[in-house]
């Protein structure tokens, strides 16, 4: 019994850690898509910018805290850069440009070896308080810190979307003609939403780097973006609570299905593909039959033209 607990506890810690990181990542996207109606298909780019910036700043001598701040700021800045050419146009241009950006960024990370060590990735970088916390308790420490960060992000986002600023975002999502008739600068509000969402993804990137201790370009494939989309839609678009629950459900599913190839006659490689087919079907079926998700409200859906 004791042994059982000994293996189960670290396993649960792992799932909770991964879920909390991707919950924060998805909360950023939920602000953009759920509350503002922006289709960002390149959200993973900001996770990558956050992770790489934090690690590289720290390795070139900046204190860890400042490096994380740099990662957050730079992610937000790239959100601004991408928003400028696309947010005045139809919503689907943002989808095309962001997905292109995330792939181009991955190519740069892969090929500019002098800067990023390319496909070899970076490891052996500093983690917060690594000299103070004993190694065997480090994940527990990280989990407590991450849950606190998640709580802070959640509470601030909840305040933000209930503020007058948040109400303008929602009105843009519903019908941009109304807020612009009231004299609101729709473009600027969208840009702010994209910047904040991207900065939150940057923070999640730094957190991911500290947890996995190794970053390489292929950690940041487009599929990570779509994981976040599924998490949001599963939990209920425009519900921050739903996003957190969605992340927990999704990563528990991913992690548990790693053992299912014992029951199915697939090779490991086929199992990976099979999992992605299930995820793709899930996304299609949710959008077709239950677009409001588990916790969402039908009237909160940004699905009207």
């Amino acid at each position: 019994m004791i042994e059982y607990v000994d293996t189960l506890l670290p396993y649960i810690t792992t799932i909770l850690l991964i879920s909390s990181i991707y919950a924060i990542f998805s909360l950023g996207l939920n602000l953009e898509w759920g509350f503002t109606g922006l289709i960002n298909f390149g959200h993973v780019a900001f996770l990558a910018i956050g992770a790489y910036t934090t690690v590289m700043f720290n390795m070139s001598g900046f204190p860890l805290f400042l490096s994380v701040i740099a990662g957050i700021v730079l992610s937000g800045f790239f959100g601004l850069l991408l928003g400028i050419p696309t947010l005045r146009l139809r919503e689907d241009y943002l989808a095309i440009v962001t997905i292109g950006f995330s792939e181009v960024l991955r190519f740069i990370l892969l090929n500019e070896q002098w800067l990023t060590r390319g496909p070899f990735g970076i490891h052996g970088f500093e983690r917060p308080l690594q000299d103070v916390i004993p190694y065997q308790h480090y994940n527990t420490f990280l989990l407590i810190v991450y849950l606190v960060i998640l709580a802070i992000i959640y509470l601030s986002l909840e305040r933000l979307v209930r503020s007058p600023w948040g109400r303008v975002l929602k009105s843009i999502r519903e019908d941009e003609a109304v807020p612009s008739a009231l004299g609101k600068n729709v473009f600027w509000y969208r840009l702010q939403s994209l910047m904040i969402g991207s900065a939150i993804a940057g923070l999640a990137g730094a957190m991911l780097a500290f947890y996995i201790m190794y970053i390489e370009p292929n950690t940041f494939k487009p599929i990570e973006t779509f994981h976040a989309w599924i998490i949001i839609i599963l939990g209920g678009t425009a519900s921050n609570k739903g996003t957190i629950v969605g992340a927990l459900v999704f990563y528990t599913f991913l992690s548990v299905t790693q053992f299912t190839n014992r029951f199915l006659p697939f090779t490991a490689h086929q199992m990976g593909a099979f999992r992605m087919i299930v995820i793709g079907l899930l996304l299609m079926l949710l959008m077709m039959y239950k677009p409001e998700g588990i916790f969402g409200k039908k009237e909160e859906l940004a699905l009207s033209d």
Partner: protein, 284 residues
């Protein structure tokens, strides 16, 4: 010269695959992110018919196009038409297309694995042409693309269905009240669009390795061609495809080859910044 030829070859593939993307984008008013995976699907069916059943490439080509059209029609009937009935928004359709792309690509990986393949055809030596080497396959791609574009032109300008397709992509409500059977024309738009994507996919397999993600990496150049040519403008899309193909290949003279892919992204972003309706006109 070598770069120009390579650019023309890849450009004609981008052009014919992107036409379908452009037509569906305009007619059904959404970006189909699964379009590239139809391209890859066709290449795999051709590979399967050719390598596993020993068919010659011409019959494999036809079978692949037919199979892909069947798939496209199936998806239209099971997914897109019911969603139109529900008045689903553009964003809903875009997200569904992402799900569909994941399903298609991973089905290919599930069946055929993730490694690269090639058609079972004899490798012939290329011949010299103004100091550049051009292979028979490359010639074949360019000729086939010309024939397809010409056939499409005849279809759009001469036949009733082609004219209805253009009317629909111009204004769907106006087309409906003037008595056009909208569902039938949309079905034909899928048949033509997916059929061209399939043809492009089989041809692409002639000049590159066949991989499950070959369509995915073609998606960005296709988007760039569509935006450059103006959404819903087939002739603009063809020109856009050739321009993207050429600029991708010519760029390798000055920047590392790895960044070919980035060229379409840069071109696309510049067009969106400066002339979002495309350089040949189209929907904004």
């Amino acid at each position: 010269m070598q770069l120009v030829i390579n650019g023309l070859v890849i450009g004609s593939i981008i052009a014919i695959t992107a036409i379908g993307l452009s037509m569906i984008y305009k007619t059904l008013n959404f970006v189909n992110f699964a379009h590239g995976d139809f391209v890859a699907f066709a290449a795999y069916i051709a590979l399967f018919a050719n390598a596993s059943f020993g068919m010659n490439l011409a019959s494999a080509f036809l079978i692949a196009i037919l199979a892909t059209i069947v798939l496209g029609v199936l998806v239209e009937k099971v997914v897109w038409r019911p969603m139109r009935r529900k008045n689903a928004s553009r964003t809903t359709l875009i997200i569904i297309s992402i799900g569909l792309a994941l399903v298609l690509r991973n089905t290919l990986i599930f069946i055929w694995g993730g490694s690269t393949r090639n058609y079972d055809i004899p490798v012939r030596r290329g011949f010299e042409f103004f100091g550049a080497t051009i292979t028979l396959n490359q010639v074949l791609v360019i000729i086939a693309a010309f024939i397809l574009v010409f056939a499409l032109h005849c279809l759009l300008s001469r036949t009733k269905i082609g004219k209805s397709m253009r009317a629909l992509s111009d204004n769907i409500d106006l087309a409906r009240i003037s008595g056009i059977d909208v569902d039938r024309v949309i079905l034909w738009t899928w048949v033509i669009g997916v059929g061209l994507a399939a043809a492009g996919g089989v041809l692409y397999g002639l000049v590159t390795a066949i991989r499950p993600d070959m369509g995915w990496y073609l998606l960005l150049p296709m988007f760039a061609a569509v935006i450059l040519g103006g959404i819903g403008n087939p002739y603009g899309t063809i020109a856009g495809g050739i321009i993207i193909g050429l600029s991708q290949e010519l760029s390798t003279a000055i920047i590392p080859t790895e960044y070919k892919f980035a060229v379409s992204f840069v071109v696309m972003t510049l067009v969106l910044l400066l002339k979002p309706e495309g350089i040949f006109g189209g929907a904004k």
